[in-house]
Amino acid sequence: MSKVASLFHPKRLNLSGFTNIRVIRDNNKRMAVEQNEPERQALRYMIRNTSLPGRVRAQAQLQLSQMHAYTRPTQVKNRCVASGHARSVIRDFRLNRYQFRMQALAGHLPGVKKASW
């Protein structure tokens, strides 16, 4: 079993907006997670089902642990869409706090205003 991450590289990059290698890698992980989610859930179900024979459950555990790391949803990290930064990303806008501030001040985010109360 090969564990090469390059297997997840798409033939043609279909991202628009800001891209760097970290964004591309994260996107690859997201694609892999989406593709392998049913299988992972099936194995998870088998592991958790105490009515199945122990051997089957152990085998399922083994298979799940042998799946590629990229298929694991915990590998996915929310990154800023406009700068690729991975810290303090505001989920509602998918923007990093700095990008959010700049775009909000420029009026690119509908309805977002400077608040004072």
């Binding site: 997670v33 989610e37 089902n49």
Partner: protein
């Protein structure tokens, strides 16, 4: 009402609403099956490229029209200049022997 009657009631209830009938409360892992699939939501985080300039070129080429991708032309020109100056990309080492010899030369 007796225990069996109640169990029967729950059983029919489960059958009608297609629930899992599990009076012994065994761990059947059904909560995994009840979970939503998160994949589609995760996969749609980054904006996807819908059309590229290349697509435009490909559509116009069969019609006999010429298109100019200035950014691409600039890039190719820069590569040519770099090659002339001897600053181009080194040749890809295909075999182990080639790469080893390259290292030795150093």
């Amino acid at each position: 009402m007796s225990q069996t009657r109640l169990l029967d009631l729950v059983k029919t209830q489960c059958r009608i609403f297609s629930l899992n009938f599990n009076p012994q409360r065994l761990r059947l892992g059904n909560k995994v099956l009840r979970q939503r699939l998160r994949g589609p939501a995760l996969a749609s985080w980054y904006p996807k490229q819908v059309v590229s300039f290349q697509d435009l070129q490909n559509t116009y080429k069969p019609l006999g029209l010429t298109t100019f991708d200035e950014a691409e032309d600039d890039r190719e020109e820069a590569i040519q200049i770099a090659k002339l100056r001897g600053k181009g990309r080194p040749k890809k080492k295909r075999t182990a022997a080639e790469s080893r010899s390259a290292k030795k030369k150093k």
